[in-house]
Amino acid sequence: MTDVAESPSTRWLYAPETIIVSGCLIALIAFGVRSTAGLFTAPISDAHGWGREVFGFAMAMQNLIWGLAQPFAGMIADRYGAMRVVMVGALIYGAGTALMAFADSPGVLFLGGGVLMGIGIALTSFSIIMAAFGRLVAPEKRSWSFGIATAASSMGQFVFAPLGHLFIAAYGWQNALLLLAASTLLMIVLSVPLGASKGGAARGEREIDLSMTEALQRGFGHGSYLLLISGFFVCGFQIAFLTVHLPAYLVEHGISASLAAWAIGIVGLFNVIGSYFAGIYGGHASRRQGLVFIYLARSAIIAAFILLPVTAISTVLFTASMGLLWLSTVPLTVGLVTLMFGTRYMATLYGFVFFSHQVGSFFGVWLGGYLYDRYGTYDPVWWLSIALGVFAAIVHWPIREQLAASFAAPAPR
């Protein structure tokens, strides 16, 4: 299972359970700390007398840089292994978070909260963790491991968002940022078990050996990969739109703040469950069909929600069902990348799929606000989300769920 020589004294360190737990904790911290970033909008803006757009720009930059850096982070992880990438990423992530505490000009905030945090997240994100799991976990447990890593990331926001809030209240926003920065450094220690693989293909699996450029050329020349990339754009669009605009929509339709708060908690909880079970499902059934189902189901659920009167019951049903479908696309999408191209270039090739997701996220957030301001209602974006869900189901349908011919290893002589 591992690339490193195992002595009895280090066997526990590279045991599958240790690898899974440490990888999940890294995913949790990486995703969790960033989910607290928005909490600092008011304290930082007020402390420096900046408009909210300064902080908003830093966060937009962070998301964009994360998306842009992800394929490159993947290339480094595929070449040198996840451990080193996560270690460097944790340092950059921590430095960026700490720098936010001392930012006395917008430029420093953009550098810390935007550039450094964005790069740090890319280097420690669940994309890197799942690529490591792909190499280190037995093939029959691979999809499950993608599911638990996604679920752990989802837990991250569940754990860190309220804690971040409380840290600000208890210790002040600057100390809260420093505490969060310190917690990112835990990822350095947690990454050690991932050192069981130094990159390359999973042990025991015969995979083609290509240069990175060649792997990318072959990947982008594979039709199913392009379909997967275009479909994942929709995931980003829908989730980001709901993330930012759902609470306001609920309150606008007469749902109490109390219920809206519960509804959002329900999304978070069901997201953990949905991600985990999507991983299990992907290990036993067609990932492509799973994705088709998820996108069609999202469209149907959104349509029902906006066509029926918005009530307490419809809100709870909507948020629970959307929660189940929230990040459940991730284990299946990662699983398809692994199936089509193997594990050797997995982090890189998934990185490009993920970039498409982030572009979709940008449009989901931006168009949600833009069309609302223009038409005074969220209806156009809801309908766009529904149409995009159908589009995603259509583009996933013809995906060939098999190893790409251009990535087949030559037969041994």
């Binding site: 999940c24 499950w144 804690l163 809030h165 993330t243 306001a248 703040a257 519960w262 989901g364």
Partner: protein, 125 residues
């Protein structure tokens, strides 16, 4: 009987919840107002208490109940007497807070809820 991997997942999930709970308790305690504080503040009660019992406790502490928040066991109350926060605790409140930042967060891969969202749920006196 759960398979080994599901037991691992469940154990991890429960451990994380426990760790989060401990960290939350520590942070909540650290964010409480000192006993000598006075003015407008949030009073937090045991959620099992009924509305009348909470109201009576606020009055007993010498405060003016202003409103109940969206969390039914959290009240906004004003009291000008020095030591009002301590009186609230003596009257049965779990704690007194300047701000109780309980705000659910949604996160996809673009986890950044805007300020408007947070304002919807902010608990401030």
């Amino acid at each position: 009987m759960l398979a080994r991997e599901h037991r691992l997942a469940l154990g991890l999930f429960l451990s994380l919840l426990l760790a989060a709970l401990v960290a939350t308790v520590i942070a909540v305690r650290a964010s409480a107002l000192p006993d000598e504080a006075s003015g407008k503040m949030l009073a937090v009660f045991d959620p099992r208490l009924d509305e009348q019992a909470m109201f009576a406790a606020l009055v007993r502490a010498g405060g003016r109940p202003l409103r109940r928040t969206w969390l039914s066991s959290v009240w906004v109350v004003a009291g000008d007497t020095p030591g009002f926060a301590g009186s609230l605790r003596q009257a049965g409140a779990i704690g007194a807070y300047g701000e109780l930042p309980i705000s659910p967060e949604l996160a996809g891969c673009f986890a950044y809820a805007d300020a408007r969202t947070r304002e919807l749920f902010a608990l401030r006196p």
